[in-house]
Amino acid sequence: MKKNLLFDAMNEIDEDMLEDVNALRGRKDAKPKLTWTRYVSAAACLCIVLIGVFAANRYELFWRADLEDPTDTEEIYENGEEHNYVFAEITTDGYAQKKIIKDTRVISEICDILHTADEAESSANKPNDSRPNWVQNDKDNSLVSDRSGTNETEKQYTIILTATDDTEEVYSLIGKTIIEENSGKNLILCDEQYTELEDLLTKNYEDEGEKTE
């Protein structure tokens, strides 16, 4: 009964309000308003999500980025100069592949050994020691150890350290002798240094690559 009263009372609704609605009812082309807004909203949300994922990846908010572009650097001090090394490139002579070491801890250890070797060299260079002597090869201006060829199992390593300012330090390790390319400095490693360095270089090889000789 009471509901009926409400419906009956609706007959008292002002005519202007009824007319307003009646005018709409006559529209044959009436359809829900602009569904494109839903698609635009969905597209905007998707863009925000993608931007968030991109930013998270770029700034490593939730996971570490790929180590292809290392951003960590190890600071090495040599002769009072600071160098930030980012790559160590190791080539084993006689093998086709070279390895890139980006692990800053390993690079730091390599640098430590290389750069303390001269200290060892200067303090331990005795005439009758077992270290090799170097003979100048006039043909290609290289230095050749007088013991080269005496130990066929020795590997020869070329170590290139690349710094963040794109400078490179190139070392060749032949036996226990390190030759620094630019300065031609011979550095003789003691047994302990040599063992440590070779361990580092070989440990970080995943495979030896194909032997070329």
Partner: protein, 186 residues
């Protein structure tokens, strides 16, 4: 023919007024009736009764907007017919559904006389409807006055059916609170 001219025919007691009214408003009135009665035969009967009611009431009435005036007549007649035909049982139809939806608005009521009740409630309804946003008002009137299906109401009000449904729910709730505030509901 314009509404003023048709109303003038009624005032001149010219029987062509009914013919002209039928030509112009038959489909419109039939839709209102069908929304309530859900029966073609009953709807036709209701609309025919509307023409008679219009003839009997004009004059003295002089409606400015004939469509609205006739719509009210058809609505009232159709609701009465619905009640007569379906006193005890429910039937399909938008009016039955609309009644059901309004169950949560009207519960108890104080006891003035029926006509006064209707007028009073009508005034309050008008005041209430003026407090609503246009979209809310249109949906409410479309659904509960014209008894249009919700889908149609949503379409001509330019919104989704879900949104229209939510609007109606909130409006019914507001109406109930309004009527309680006015002392009409306990």
């Amino acid at each position: 023919m314009k509404d003023e001219a048709i109303v003038e025919l009624y005032w001149q007691r010219d029987e062509s007024a009914i013919t002209v009214t039928q030509e112009k408003y038959h489909v419109y009135l039939l839709k209102i009736a069908r929304n309530i009665l859900n029966s073609t035969e009953d709807s036709e009967e209701s609309v025919n009764d509307t023409y008679l009611a219009a003839w009997n009431s004009i004059p003295p009435q002089k409606p400015e907007v004939l469509s609205t005036y006739l719509g009210k007549l058809t609505r009232r007649i159709s609701i009465s017919l619905f009640r007569r035909r379906n006193a005890e049982k429910r039937r399909d139809g938008e009016f039955a559904l609309a009644l059901q939806e309004m169950e949560d608005v009207m519960t108890d009521f104080m006891d003035p006389e029926r006509e006064m009740e209707e007028k009073l409630l009508g005034e309050l309804l008008n005041k209430f409807l003026h407090t609503l946003k246009p979209s809310e008002r249109r949906v409410f009137i479309g659904r509960y006055y014209y008894m249009d299906p919700l889908k149609e109401v949503a379409a001509y009000c330019g919104m989704s059916e879900g949104k229209a449904k939510t609007l109606l729910f909130r409006t019914r709730k507001k109406l109930k609170e309004y009527l309680i505030g006015e002392g009409l509901l306990l």
